[in-house]
């Protein structure tokens, strides 16, 4: 199948970016977005053109390294799926790239393979994520949030015996649900306000549920909310972050940001 790719090229953080259009003639429905970019890069390299820079690591949705905006949707048109797990078979023809996932038959049967698939691929967009090069962005603003308070910083002595600190099953499951965040940054890119509440809230909610994390709950809330304030925008409950989150973090994580902050305010 033939895929027309409009892709963002930017030589350096300071340079002005631009879109370039390339065509991959021999794409297959089984290809993931990243494999499509690999194929395109082979083509470019053969032609002596500098390949397109993009980030990837595990390519199985676990690491959070990849992440590009496809047809205006962070990660791509399939909801709650990282770029590496977005396959061409799921993309409808045309710019909208609406996924053909709702049919009973196999998704690929719906795709007219003779037709032209158009994709516009650009970096994750946010003021907090400056472009390093092409599709690679600097997401260290998320690292700084973790440094501010997304960790446990207490001396716990030697490793405790198993079952020393009991955690209820429901709490453990809930904490794990919030801990599922892979730090890809799609929530920030999806947010029309450039907010990182889903990311920060997942961390706050996760650590507030666990015995060691609870010890620093008040300090953490203040530090994380201050850091959010400095580098990210306000939350207006658009909910677009939830739609793109590959880890399925719910909107309650966003509520957890202010829950923790309000709790800290009354504890001073």
């Amino acid at each position: 199948m033939r895929v027309e790719i409009e892709v963002w090229r930017q030589d350096s953080p300071e340079a002005d970016g631009r879109f370039e259009t390339h065509v991959v003639e021999d794409a297959t429905p089984e290809m993931s977005l990243l494999e499509l970019l690999d194929r395109l890069n082979d083509q470019l390299a053969e032609g002596g053109v500098e390949p397109i820079q993009f980030e990837s690591d595990c390519r199985e949705g676990a690491c959070g390294a990849c992440g590009v905006t496809v047809n205006d949707t962070p990660h791509g048109p399939v909801p709650q799926t990282p770029s590496c797990r977005q396959h061409l078979r799921a993309f409808g023809p045309g710019r909208g790239g609406s996924p053909n996932l709702d049919s009973g038959s196999s998704a690929s049967a719906n795709l007219d393979l003779g037709s032209l698939l158009k994709l516009r691929i650009e970096p994750l967009r946010s003021a907090a994520f400056p472009v390093v090069r092409d599709l690679v962005v600097d997401r260290s603003s998320l690292d700084r949030l973790i440094q501010a308070g997304g960790h446990v910083d207490v001396t716990t002595g030697t490793a405790p015996d198993a079952d020393d600190l009991l955690i209820g099953h429901d709490d453990a499951e809930l904490a794990l649900d919030f801990a599922a965040c892979i730090g890809c940054g799609a929530c920030v890119a999806a947010c029309p306000n450039g907010a990182a509440h889903l990311f920060a809230g997942a961390k706050l909610a996760h650590l507030a549920l666990l015995p060691h994390g609870k010890l620093e709950r008040t300090r953490r809330a203040g530090a994380v909310v201050d850091q959010l304030d400095g580098e990210f925008g306000p939350c207006s409950s658009y909910g677009e972050c939830v739609e793109v989150c590959p880890a399925g973090i719910p909107l309650t994580a966003v509520a957890a940001v202010h829950r923790e902050k309000l709790r800290a305010a009354f504890r001073r």
């Binding site: 980030e55 390294a65 047809n71 205006d72 048109p77 909801p79 909208g96 790239g97 609406s98 650009e122 967009r125 946010s126 003021a127 907090a128 400056p130 472009v131 390093v132 690679v136 600097d138 997401r139 260290s140 998320l142 690292d143 700084r144 999806a190 947010c191 029309p192 306000n193 450039g194 907010a195 509440h197 909610a205 909310v225 201050d226 850091q227 959010l228 304030d229 400095g230 580098e231 925008g233 306000p234 939350c235 207006s236 409950s237 658009y238 909910g239 677009e240 739609e243 793109v244 909107l251 309650t252 966003v254 509520a255 957890a256 940001v257 202010h258 829950r259 902050k261 309000l262 709790r263």
Partner: protein, 239 residues
């Protein structure tokens, strides 16, 4: 997160975004309460001229003689005015911060987005702000957009709220404007109320559903109670 681009140190906002969101939330609740009580008072129109005029006059007398004449009314008006200034100021400040944080690349709305409630908050808010001015000129002050027969006091010494209302809504354009605005207000409340869940950190699954339902019901009540009045005036049911 391999490479780091050099950037100036993060700016610390004053007042904090958290504080601004709380201002939005608290003043927003003031307006929801006001709008709901206002709608409840408007229902007097279904009981006829005397009921509505009596209610309008009572609003000025309430608390008297313990409190000065019109004092409760003015206390409420000042509360609303202060809330309005704070709500608009916080909204503009937050909007500017959101635009700055988004960066210069505007992404088109996501195809399957459920976010149109959020997206219409700002234009809806501006629409409501203009409506407040029009509404006050029309039925409270009696200037510019008011009907020709507008009066500050009726022959019976009561506030002629009923006659003023009927005169105003007998103009089809004005009636349509009021009716449409009620939907804008309901939409604004519907999303604003849902946002309170995030602003006040309500994380319980059941209470989130209950809370959102309450907001939707308040919004629905305001539409049903208010938007019907201009339509009933136009159709001659209220005359």
């Amino acid at each position: 997160m391999t490479a780091a681009v050099e950037r100036p140190a993060a700016t610390r906002h004053r007042p904090s975004t958290f504080a601004l969101k709380q201002v939005m939330a608290i003043t927003g609740v003031v307006f929801v309460a006001f709008t709901f009580i206002h709608m409840y008072g408007n229902l007097k129109v279904y009981w006829g001229r005397q009921a509505l005029d009596g209610y309008a006059t009572w609003l000025r007398e309430v608390g008297y003689p313990l409190l000065p004449y019109k004092s409760v009314l003015w206390a409420l008006r000042i509360t609303l005015l202060v809330s309005l200034v704070a709500h608009v100021w916080a909204a503009v400040a937050l909007w500017l911060r959101g635009r700055a944080a988004r960066g210069k690349h505007r992404r088109r709305a996501m195809p399957r987005s459920m976010a149109w409630g959020a997206r219409t908050m700002l234009p809806g808010g501006v629409w409501i702000l203009i409506f407040v001015v029009v509404h006050l000129l029309d039925l409270t002050v009696g200037l510019i957009v008011a009907p020709e027969s507008w009066a500050a006091q009726g022959p019976d010494g009561l506030i002629p709220a009923y006659d003023n209302l009927v005169a105003s809504f007998s103009r089809p354009l004005m009636a349509a404007y009021y009716t449409f605005t009620m939907f804008v207000i309901a939409f604004h409340i519907w999303h604003g109320w849902r946002t309170l869940l995030q602003d006040w950190g309500i994380t319980g699954r059941r209470i989130r559903v209950v809370w959102a339902t309450i907001g939707a019901l308040i919004a629905l009540a305001i539409v049903l109670g208010n938007a019907a009045i201009p339509l009933l005036v136009l159709t001659g049911v209220i005359a």
